[in-house]
Symmetry: C2
Subunit: 368 residues, 2 copies
């Protein structure tokens, strides 16, 4: 088990080594490791070396200066200057929040960015302002629209965070696919089959063989197949792509740059970098915040008192699973897979972060 | 086959008879029959007598005066005064569009309304203004959240309309359930089973028996089951409910009033009527509209040139199926089921709309 602070401090040290300012390194580390804390292991420190490789390949500008390039009272486009999405994201969300303070709502579309970690982090920034927060991003094309053999969309997540009163906030954070890519990576490692409805093979036929994904297959939009509404997941993923990239001037559809640095960038880009979209809605642009929160509490309690199906203890409110992870992991620490520990240990060696490396090596020994 | 104009004129005549002003009757008819035109048969003239019964039960105020009750530069809450959603919806969407003109975006949450027809109609109102349009509504509780036996959500649709340049606009309009309720009604009539993943029975167990729905069962959120992401459909339906009703002060969750007049209203309402949410985003709040449209054309053409799976002619762009229906039905007319024709004929008799009744009776004879 690793302490949250240890992983955050290590990530911060690595971000400093690749050229981030002190402030940016701190922020990037906080956003990154919030994924491990909230149980989204695929988006946390497991990706740290991926960000480093993108920087080594000059695909990330760690000294980026984020700037507005177009705006109205409640909207803006932002150029991320090729920066870390982990840093560009929160800055763009701050712009949305600032606009909401004066205009009632703020909406920011971002071009020229990179992967921004978990969408939920950015959406939740609005909560302390008594605002609803929204965050979306496009991502490398892994998903085939309904009836398509080709991959034209990313897992394109949508996060919505809504404040409550006495209850915890409502936080939805969902990829617009049947299943997160991380779950497929785990099955692939275990050589287990996937349920039907998660992926298709290179001919666009349903498959349970996870390896088909690396041979021209694709993830499926939420719904899984046409009979179960995959066209709806395809619609939602498309909306995320258009809001994030066509509004801002980023790359969209099959042109979105890959996260992994060993894949080439598209030779005919249609925009700059990847795109995000952020929103902030002032509750009291609609009704007094106290009234709203009282009714959100009632909405949440109605769910909590619903009768669960046999075998389930309770009906969950969106945000519950991640909050439970956070509580447990802050106290007990965060377990990492051996390949991830090795990867982080190599990063520590590369950057001569010896004091951290001792921590990683201890865990490697522990398990070997 | 019925001519579009015939059905629209008849609906207008009926709305006049139940007390709508000339302007409101015209608008309500146009919104209602746009559903038949676009192939969403469940939301068109098949519902006309349902609206009449709600009026007879004094659950709809056909002389409603829609008014803003709270606002900021880019947001507003609107009281629908118990009016027809078919009339309240477009008025609220006009407020969103007007706010977008000055503030860059406009967001309107509506309380004290009734069912508003197809969400797509309202979202598409933004297109001619070079805006993205968004429309959502909550609805009678028919849907069980993941792990819940109880029905706490409606089919809660989301529509997003996005303008393009030379290409037709992108129009997504989707219930946040696996399947629309209308499809289940058709299976029920034919006594056919539903695929797994569409509904659950009163114990919250998967079922294929459509009749279970009327005996305490429920529709399932998009995704169908937990393994296929039903918690994501549940999140989306919840966001629609909260934006439409908790922001505005309408009824939410299991308190949403039923569409059918024979079911009693909840005895402990938590707000007024049902709720909607509308949004309008000015394209040129982000980038020049011409640039955006050029890239939307490219986005759409990328989909159109994608290789389809075997047995499919093409990969569809959201909005294609409805546009195809509209083209065919404007030319060839709209086919109605015999029970719907009988229902409309009875309405014509009730309101002494004899010239229309001749048209309906001719069709009844034709098929008997």
């Amino acid at each position: 088990m690793f302490k949250y602070d240890f992983l955050k401090d290590f990530s911060e040290a690595v971000f400093l080594k690749i050229g981030c300012s002190g402030k940016d390194a701190k922020l990037a580390a906080q956003v990154l490791v919030s994924a491990d804390l909230r149980g989204v292991d695929s988006h946390g420190v497991a990706r740290l070396s991926g960000y480093v490789r993108l920087w080594e390949n000059q695909r990330i500008n760690t000294a980026a200066e984020v700037k507005k390039i177009h705006e109205s009272p409640s909207t803006a486009s932002v150029d991320g200057d090729g920066g870390l999405g982990l840093v560009v994201g929160p800055q763009a969300m701050e712009i949305a929040i600032a606009k909401a303070k004066t205009a009632g709502s703020g909406w920011v579309s971002v071009q020229n960015s990179n992967h921004f970690g978990i969408a939920g982090y950015h959406a939740m920034m609005a909560l302390s302002h008594d605002m609803i927060g929204i965050a979306m991003t496009n991502a490398s094309p892994l998903v085939a629209p309904t009836f398509s053999k080709e991959r034209l969309l990313g897992t394109n997540p949508i996060a919505v965070a809504i404040p409550a009163g006495e209850e915890n906030p409502f936080v939805a954070d969902l990829a617009t696919t049947t299943v997160a890519n991380g779950k497929l990576e785990i099955l692939d490692r275990k050589k287990e089959d996937a349920p039907l409805g998660w992926i298709q093979n290179k001919n666009g036929l349903p498959t349970q063989t996870v390896a088909d994904l690396k041979e021209g297959g694709a993830l499926l939009p939420l719904g899984g197949d046409r009979d179960h509404g995959s066209h709806k997941g395809y619609c939602l993923g498309s909306v995320v792509d258009i809001f994030s990239a066509v509004l801002s001037g980023a790359n969209y559809s099959s042109w979105v740059p890959p996260f992994v640095s060993f894949l080439p960038l598209p030779s005919d880009p249609v925009g700059k970098g990847i795109g995000h979209f952020f929103g902030a809605l002032r509750i009291d642009g609609f009704r007094p915040a106290e009234d709203f929160k009282k009714h959100m509490d009632q909405w949440i309690r109605r769910v909590r008192t619903a009768e669960p199906v046999a075998g389930q203890k309770e009906v969950l409110v969106p945000g519950d699973p991640e909050r439970n992870f956070e509580k447990v992991r802050l106290q007990d620490g965060i377990a990492l897979l051996q390949p991830v520990i090795k990867d982080l240990s190599q990063l520590a060696t590369k950057f001569q972060l010896d004091s951290f490396n001792a921590g990683f090596e201890a865990h490697l020994l522990e398990k070997s």
